[in-house]
């Protein structure tokens, strides 16, 4: 796979991730990850201080599936639409069978009354596995949020 092709597929995977959230197709998220994946949301404050406490932590794909089912059936949270606006995937680093890249993101939430506000900005630090036919899936997705004072609550993935 050429560098350009890898970049293109990484970009498509990232957009598949954000669009699944934005279009309320959360159930499509697990297909983008490998089974033994890690998905975390961490604050830039704790990263800077070297402290381990995350905002959100799924140590495997089952925990991510649990989160999604919970949001659908259990949790009470403010209903909203999400909208991600991303920078292109950048700074790709490859190793055998894997690639790692950073993507800056902004995320808006819109209330059911149609009022949009900025919810979070930050950076994705992603490691993907290159599978059959060049298909990419996330093995580690770490969402580093600059906006570590969470407005109201953190329900849908960032």
């Amino acid at each position: 796979m050429t560098d350009l092709e890898l970049w293109f597929r990484f970009q498509q995977l990232q957009l598949a991730y954000t669009q699944a959230i934005d279009e309320d197709r959360l159930e499509d998220l697990p297909a983008l990850f490998v089974e033994n994946c890690e998905y975390s949301i961490v604050s830039r404050e704790n990263v800077a201080l070297g402290l381990p406490m995350p905002l959100f932590r799924c140590g495997n794909l089952d925990m991510l599936r649990d989160r999604i089912v919970s949001l659908r059936n259990a949790n009470i949270f403010n209903p909203h639409y999400s909208r991600h606006v991303l920078s292109p995937v950048q700074a790709i680093d490859t190793s055998p069978g894997e690639a790692r890249a950073a993507t800056s993101f902004s995320l808006y939430q819109t209330t059911m009354a149609g009022l949009s506000s900025l919810f979070s900005v930050g950076c994705y630090d992603d490691t993907v596995v290159v599978g059959d036919g060049g298909r990419l899936r996330f093995r580690i997705k770490t969402v580093r949020v600059d906006t570590f004072s969470i407005p109201n609550l953190l329900s849908t993935p960032i």
């Binding site: 350009l4 604050s43 991303l86 800056s104 900005v121 950076c123 600059d146 004072s149």
Partner: protein
């Protein structure tokens, strides 16, 4: 217009590094993206539209830009924050001589020490780039800021 895929990829990579270095507060690395002969200006959109020359930041050569970096480190005090830049896709324009000319939209966010993020500036990057020692570098970066009512102060480059 050269417009080759390699050119577009290289231009994209340079914009990505530009944003990334600012977001990581790596000002020295950001400075090194500029060619030996370069200009860096931040101009309010209202001045551009009225044909007025006054800029918010106006570095007409590399030494002035170097001075800005040093003064940020040593002399000026300013509100401590994290920045995050989100860029749109790049538009390639007709070359000016041997320089590749391009534009992109930007949003610059700032997050304060309490983790609250605000939009700091939105606008357009207008850049000229040239290959120097095999690497693409900036000969001109003009930041046309729609957000010319600067919130508090403009310290770190946009």
């Amino acid at each position: 217009m050269s417009g080759s895929r390699d050119d577009l990829a290289a231009v994209q990579a340079l914009y990505a590094q530009y944003a990334r270095h600012l977001d990581d507060n790596a000002l020295q690395a950001w400075f090194e993206l500029f060619a030996d002969e370069c200009e860096y200006r931040v101009v309010p959109r209202e001045n551009v539209e009225q044909g007025l020359p006054l800029a918010l930041i106006d570095c007409t050569n590399r030494r002035m830009l170097a001075d800005r970096i040093v003064s940020l480190k040593e002399a000026n005090f300013f509100n401590v924050h994290y920045s995050r830049h989100i860029l749109s896709s790049i538009t390639l324009l007709a070359d000016a001589g041997s320089d590749i000319v391009s534009e992109a939209d930007y949003t610059a966010f700032q997050t304060d020490q309490e983790g609250v993020t605000r939009i700091f500036s939105v606008g357009r990057y207008q850049a000229s780039m040239r290959r120097e020692d095999g690497r693409l570098k900036l000969t001109r970066m003009t930041v046309v800021a729609d957000t010319y009512g600067i919130r508090t102060l403009l310290a770190i480059p946009i």
